[in-house]
């Protein structure tokens, strides 16, 4: 018996010694640590492309969730919460753990994180020159600021978690005002990096004309103008506009864009809806049809349906025609928005005539002639909001504009179903543990 046991022991010991399992390497994707040390130029540029590409994720949600709340449109699709929660049906509140929040929020911060990986990689590589290094940084910080400004708009007075460089030690939520200031500071920092830098990377055709440090800086300033205007700092906004790509006589659509393609791994325009499609459609809120000024070229954004449609006790006769095809680009920021910022800044800094001048350029561009209304502050605010609502229908701006001017409520917006609520901001996501 002892002999047998010793045989068993010998066998077991031999086998112990012989079988070693190899250390594991992910066979499916590069490790996040692969760029942490000595990243190559190619790896840095892959991160740049990743940042530009992933910015596009969730842009449709930013537009249609805020668009539903601002009564620009209804989302008629398979998810009931689009007509239930977003419109506050029977008093429904916005949920802090549902896609209309998380899809917008998570995608923004994923870009911020990838930009932080790029910044970390730059700290630990010698494969680029100092000027190139600064170029990457200027790009990364500008995009971070844009992403964070979108989050702050979404959450409103709930504030913004600005410092997210260390996932283990996330910074605090800043107040709305502090958040805006932090974003503006980041934009200024990025501008400082861009000055005198060089780009060792290329961008997609969406950034044609904005793909050198100096032209990219004009995009940086356009974002700064938008953020300053949201903060109510109109003199700063005017100043930023002057350093941006703004051109009062220029093409309204000029500006960097999200582009789409059918290439493998690429995206199609998620806000494009096929004409006549049912079950996945943006239905124009009837007030845009009823209030439309005849001759307004912007009415072409609304396509009349063969049959009116209804879902969840909501009705509509028109659907979105905002984008012509599934490859139409989406503007990130365009000359037209800078015109609105200029008009807004002038009317808020005691220059109503200057504001009307800009509004008339906008009106005439869309074929509805000069503004004939009053030039009191309230009149101008209403006119500005009205024009902006048509110029930026379905682009995720109106909710924030209405909110700023105290009009995101049932005194100014229609209630389509008794009991519906008008929400003013999104809650902090559950996962933030606030």
């Amino acid at each position: 018996m002892n002999k047998i046991l010793s045989y068993i022991c010998i066998c077991v010991i031999m086998v112990f010694a012989s079988c070693t399992i190899d250390e594991q390497i992910d066979p499916n994707a590069p490790s996040i640590n692969s760029v942490a040390e000595n990243a190559t130029l190619q790896e840095l540029n892959l991160l740049v492309n990743g940042i530009e590409s992933s910015m596009r994720n969730g842009v449709d949600v930013l537009a249609n969730a805020t668009g539903s709340i601002a009564r620009e449109l209804y989302i008629f699709d398979a998810d009931p919460r689009n007509t239930l929660d977003l419109l506050g049906k029977e008093g429904a509140q916005l949920d802090n753990n549902t896609f209309y929040l998380t899809a917008a929020y998570n995608t923004r911060y994923r870009v911020v994180k990838t930009a932080n990986i790029l910044l970390d990689a730059l700290d630990n590589t010698s494969s680029v020159s100092a000027a190139e290094d600064a170029g990457y940084r200027g790009f990364a910080k500008t995009i971070q600021a844009l992403m964070l400004s979108q989050v702050l708009d979404y959450l409103g007075t709930n504030g913004l978690r600005f410092d997210v460089a260390d996932p283990e030690n996330l910074g605090p939520f800043l107040s709305e005002a502090d958040g805006r200031q932090a974003i503006l500071n980041l934009l200024d920092e990025a501008l400082g990096d861009l000055n005198g830098s060089s780009f060792a990377f290329g961008l997609s055709s969406g950034f044609a004309g904005f793909d050198t440090p100096s032209t990219f800086a004009t995009f940086n300033r356009a974002i700064a103008a938008r953020v300053a205007a949201r903060a109510g700092d109109y003199s700063a906004a005017i100043s930023h506009i002057s350093s941006s790509f703004f051109d009062i006589n220029g093409d309204f659509s000029n500006g960097p864009k999200h582009v789409f393609s059918l290439s493998s791994g690429d995206l199609q325009n998620p806000a494009f809806k096929q004409g006549g499609q049912n079950g996945d459609q943006w239905i124009v809120h009837n007030r845009f049809i009823e209030n439309g000024v005849s001759g307004d070229a912007r009415l072409s954004k609304f396509r009349q349906r063969l049959d009116p449609t209804s879902q969840d006790d909501l009705n509509g006769t028109h659907e979105t025609a905002l984008y012509a095809t599934n490859l139409s680009p989406i503007d990130i920021v365009r000359n037209e928005e800078l015109m609105f910022i200029l008009a807004e800044s002038r009317m808020n800094t005691g220059d109503p005539q200057g504001a009307v001048e800009v509004l008339n350029i906008i009106r005439n561009n869309h074929g509805i002639g000069d503004y004939m209304g009053g030039t009191g502050m309230d009149d101008l605010i209403n006119e500005w909001l009205f024009q902006k609502s048509y110029s930026f229908w379905g682009e995720g701006q109106l909710m924030f504009d209405l909110r700023k001017y105290g009009q995101l409520n049932d005194a100014f917006l229609p209630i389509d179903r008794p009991g519906d609520l008008i929400h003013t901001q999104f809650p902090i996501p559950l996962s933030e543990n606030q």
Binding site: I8, N49, E52, N106, K113, F272, G279
Partner: protein, 979 residues
């Protein structure tokens, strides 16, 4: 060492001759018969206290040379009560074995290379014989056939499509991170039970592969090939399987050939699938259409009604009677050296939706051969070809494909049928036309699978008081799963976007494992037997999953290359594990049986792949009735037992890594952080289970009770937790969660009538399980900075707004929670209060057999989101609206929002069989049967089936319903011929 073994072998071979001559004193011989005077083939006759023995031959006869001092022999065979006779008795020439009602002699495979008599078990090991498995009715899948037959087992059918989609959960939730499914072992092969997604989500917009309603690969096994199934439900029984056994182990043994005349059986079943329950549609008239919608819609309704074109879409889509045919051939035979079993099966089943179905073609050969007295080998091989047409059901997002979703939003008065040019009208109220999808879209899978096992048993060494055996077993499960999804470019949701979709998957699975075990049995003079075993186990699983997708299709083409945009995705997974096993069992005269043992395991899935983790076990069974012959007279069995064991589970593949995902913009490749944050230091989660129980048998074992109570603590549970997404990551994997499952399992076995005319056996099983999260982060550490706040596990449901699972310390892990005034509040629980299985087998008039199985599940909630969708689409039928309104009031309301009580009583199986004994030289017997599955269900649940899971079988995800493939009931007629 090699030399030593050779010498040992020679000695052993020599000894078996020596033994015969030197020690033989006298010889006994005789015949062993059953109560029907049929010879019992293969019964064993062993001299008590030694390893000397023999087995009966084809005629039931035996001859045994008795060693010196032999006093008693023990005669045993599975299914019969063991007898112990004195060698001096005169009745050894004709021994009649009595039926063993309690199956106490049944041998249960519990160790890796050893087995234990049921009467000596220290655990409640559930086992199912082929009779219980397939004896009542024709079975679709092996896992589906277990419904209601075992205590402590919760089975959920996530998808009603033919071909399965079944989740088996033993003694509650054991894992959150990955598979809650037990380890499946078929003849020593660690087989894959994966649900393999087809990629239809890229066309339907479903959130994940788990929502695609894939079948699970147990569906490939032919239930008819199975001899027995043993279910090791908890860690105390399964510890010897170590790091793979956290969710229990299901051990399947397939049929073996029997020496004797070659026997051939042919079975033919034909039957029908029909929908289990119709939910119905709201019955509109013109006025109610006007009220619900508007005047225009009312006009359209009136026009359709006038033209007789108002249809019942539910009936149109789910109303098929699917034809089922199942043909099986069984050939067994052999001689005293070689036996074989051949099992062939062709099953073909059509679903209740047109163009859905499942077919399985299986061929098995099990071959056993004795090279000599010392050495025997076995080879089992099984080839399976299975294919399924799953079509499109379940959750989606604007894909216009899922029938239930489409039906919820479609109106019965709109026209969906093609015109004379074959053009299908657009659905005016949803993104897809269900008739178009049914007729034109494809979601198919095909599997070609080889299951092979080889075993070797070598009796290295034998003396009259000890024997040393070596057992080697290797298993291979290799299969290629191919999926094909086709959505034509003319499908409504595709137009203007992807313009058609083709997805072709090629998924190769290769599971290899082997084990080598030495077993030493040692018998002492004072009736204490020692069984020592030690050995190793190794497994290597490789998976290579490739999905090719093409969009922007060339009209009418179904070839991957015929489209504008191609994408490829590949996922490679490899798992390698190695374990060392040691176990010692001490048996004192079948009175006290004690076992201690353990397993050391290492795995490539752990942070340190070469670190061993130890999983101990210990158990004790005391057969009180065997101590006292007076007691034995009254009680056939009185056993107290207690068992403790630990098992583990490593994180699912990929959990160690944090990666960068590739992405593209305008042709520029890029990468972006993957939102799943890995953890490079993971260790396996660990179950610690204490089980105790009592088994009682009396009245000649015609009444038996088996009661078990278990406490299972899962420590350091691996789980995904949502991170603050501002970090850029969505999920991380952690293991600072403890979970406790406790439960009671009662099995009452009755043989109320046993005589020549009627033989009635009845099993009543009762069981429940309760879970509790005992630690999340820091126990009771709500103020501790290191504590983890309560959270919604990612990907299990659809957010607190609609209802989801929510992990909170002190709460059950199966709870359904809603946001009530902004505060997460538990509003339901998917765990049943209790379940009861009631199985009856009645043999009467010698050739008739009647069986039925009733399954009662009390309590357990389901989140019925199908109703949410039909509410919005205006298609919830009036009786459901009324029922919901009536039952939503009060604190103990049956319905709370969309959370509904899902209690049910179901006649799972019922069958009547008749045997015609032809007794001819050629044809021995004809068998006729009429049977049904799921024939009757009594439930208040308002949707199709209270058994449902829209997220497939993994993790927590049961009890969430989103427009599933409706379950079906089946009725069969069977004809069997035995030659």
């Amino acid at each position: 060492m090699k030399k030593q073994f050779t010498r040992l072998g020679l000695v052993a071979i020599a000894m078996c001759f020596v033994q015969t001559f030197l020690f033989s004193q006298s010889t006994i011989s005789g015949t062993i018969l059953d109560t029907a005077d049929e010879p019992v083939i293969g019964a064993s006759i062993i001299v008590v206290g030694t390893t000397v023995g023999t087995v009966t031959d084809i005629d039931g006869t035996y001859t045994l040379n008795l060693p010196e001092g032999a006093e008693q022999v023990s005669i045993s065979y599975i299914g019969y009560a063991t007898q112990i006779l004195n060698v001096t008795d005169g009745n050894l020439s004709r021994i009649v074995l009595e039926d063993d009602f309690a199956d106490l002699e049944e041998v249960v495979v519990t160790g890796l290379a050893s087995s234990v008599k049921r009467s000596n078990l220290a655990n409640a090991v559930a086992s199912i014989s082929s009779k219980e498995l397939t004896g009542v009715t024709s079975q679709q899948t092996v896992d589906g056939a277990l419904y209601g037959k075992l205590t402590g087992v919760n089975i959920v059918q996530s998808n009603g499509a033919p071909g399965g989609g079944i989740a088996l959960r033993l003694r509650g939730v054991s894992s959150l991170s990955g598979n809650n499914q037990p380890l499946w072992i078929v003849d020593g092969i660690y087989i894959s039970n994966s649900e393999i997604p087809s990629g239809s989500r890229f066309a339907s917009g479903a959130n994940s592969g788990s929502e695609e309603g894939a079948s699970n690969r147990i569906a490939d096994l032919n239930p008819e090939d199975i001899e027995s199934i043993e279910v090791l439900k908890g860690a105390s029984a399964a510890a010897i399987y170590g790091t793979r056994a956290n969710a229990g182990v299901v051990i399947i043994t397939t049929k073996k050939g029997k020496a004797g005349d070659t026997k051939v059986s042919i079975d033919q079943d034909v039957g029908f699938n029909s929908i289990l329950k119709r939910v119905g549609r709201f019955q509109y008239d013109e006025a109610s259409v006007r009220e619900a919608f508007d005047d225009d819609e009312a006009a359209r309704f009136a026009a359709a009604q006038a033209a007789g074109q108002v249809i019942d879409l539910e009936d149109e889509i789910y109303g098929e009677n699917g034809f089922i045919r199942d043909t099986r051939l069984k050939i067994t035979g052999g001689n005293d050296k070689t036996t074989f079993y051949v099992g062939g099966s062709l099953r073909n089943e059509d679903g209740i939706i047109l163009n859905t179905g499942f077919a399985r073609n299986s061929l098995r050969l099990n071959l056993n051969h004795k090279l000599n007295d010392k050495l025997s080998i076995g080879v089992n091989s099984n080839y399976i070809n299975s294919n399924a047409q799953r079509s499109f059901t379940g959750n989606e997002n604007e894909g216009g494909l899922s029938y239930g979703y489409t039906l919820a939003f479609s109106r019965d008065w709109n026209n969906f049928f093609p015109d004379e040019n074959g053009v299908y009208p657009l659905n005016p109220t949803y993104s897809g036309n269900p008739i178009f999808v049914r007729d034109n879209a494809v979601n198919d899978e095909e599997n070609n699978r080889f299951l092979n096992s080889a075993s070797l048993d070598w009796k290295i060494f034998q003396k009259d008081n000890q024997v040393l055996r070596f057992n080697f077993n290797s298993g291979l499960d290799y299969f290629v799963n191919q999926t094909f999804v086709y959505v034509p470019e003319t499908h409504q949701a595709q137009v203007g976007g992807d313009n058609g979709f083709i997805g072709v998957g090629r998924n190769v699975f290769n599971n290899f494992n082997y084990q080598a075990i030495l077993v030493h049995d040692y018998y002492t003079d004072n009736n204490i037997n020692f069984t020592t075993q030690g050995g190793i186990s190794y497994l290597d699983f490789d998976r290579d999953l490739v999905l090719n997708r093409t969009t922007q299709l060339i009209p009418g083409q179904t070839n991957l290359s015929q489209g504008g945009t191609q994408e490829t995705a590949q996922r490679i997974e490899n798992e390698e594990e190695f374990g060392v096993i040691l176990q010692e069992e001490v048996n004192y005269d079948d009175k006290i049986i004690a076992t201690v043992g353990g397993r050391l395991d290492k795995s490539s899935l752990n942070g340190d792949p070469n670190q061993f983790f130890f999983f101990p076990k210990a158990s004790l069974a005391v057969n009180l009735a065997n101590f006292d012959s007076g007691l034995k007279g009254k009680l056939n069995q009185l056993k107290l037992r207690v068992a403790y064991g630990e098992t583990g589970s490593s994180a699912s593949f990929g959990s160690l890594f944090t990666g960068l995902s590739s992405i593209n913009i305008g042709g520029n490749a890029g990468f972006v952080v993957n939102p799943n944050q890995g953890n490079a230091n993971l260790e396996p989660e660990r179950s610690r289970e204490l089980e105790f129980g009592v088994d009682v048998g009396f009245l000649d074992n015609r009444v038996g009770l088996e009661a078990s109570y278990y406490i299972r603590n899962v420590n350091n549970l691996l789980y995904e937790r949502s991170l603050p997404t501002s970090s850029g990551f969505s999920n991380e994997i952690r293991n600072d969660l403890d979970l406790r499952n406790r439960g009671l399992e009662l099995g009452l076995r009755l043989a109320p009538i046993a005589n020549d005319r009627i033989n009635w056996n009845s099993n009543i099983n009762f069981w429940f399980n309760r879970s509790n999260v005992t630690r999340l982060g820091v126990e009771d550490g709500t103020d501790d900075a290191n504590d983890i706040p309560s959270f919604v596990p990612p990907g299990v449901a659809f957010g607190l707004g609609l209802g989801t699972f929510f992990i909170e310390e002190g709460a059950p892990i199966t709870g359904l929670w809603n946001s009530v005034e902004g505060v997460p509040t538990q509003t339901g629980d998917t765990e049943a209060d209790f379940q009861v299985g009631f199985y009856n087998e009645i043999n009467f008039l010698s050739n008739w057999n009647f069986n039925f199985l009733v399954h009662w599940k009390q309590g357990g909630d389901v989140l019925n989101l199908t109703r949410l969708l039909t509410d919005i689409g205006g298609n919830t039928p009036q009786d459901v609206i009324d029922f919901v309104a009536e039952n939503s009031e009060g604190d103990d309301a049956k319905i709370r929002g969309f959370i509904e009580d899902a209690s049910y009583v179901r006649l799972r199986e019922v069958g009547l069989n008749y045997k015609i004994p032809v007794g001819g030289k050629f044809l021995e017997r004809v068998r006729l049967g009429l049977s049904a599955r799921n024939l009757i269900t009594i439930t208040d649940y308002t949707s199709y089936d209270p058994e449902t899971s829209t997220k497939g079988g993994s993790g927590l995800s049961t009890g969430i319903e989103v427009t599933p493939f409706p379950s079906s009931k089946q009725i069969y007629f069977s004809l069997g011929l035995d030659f």
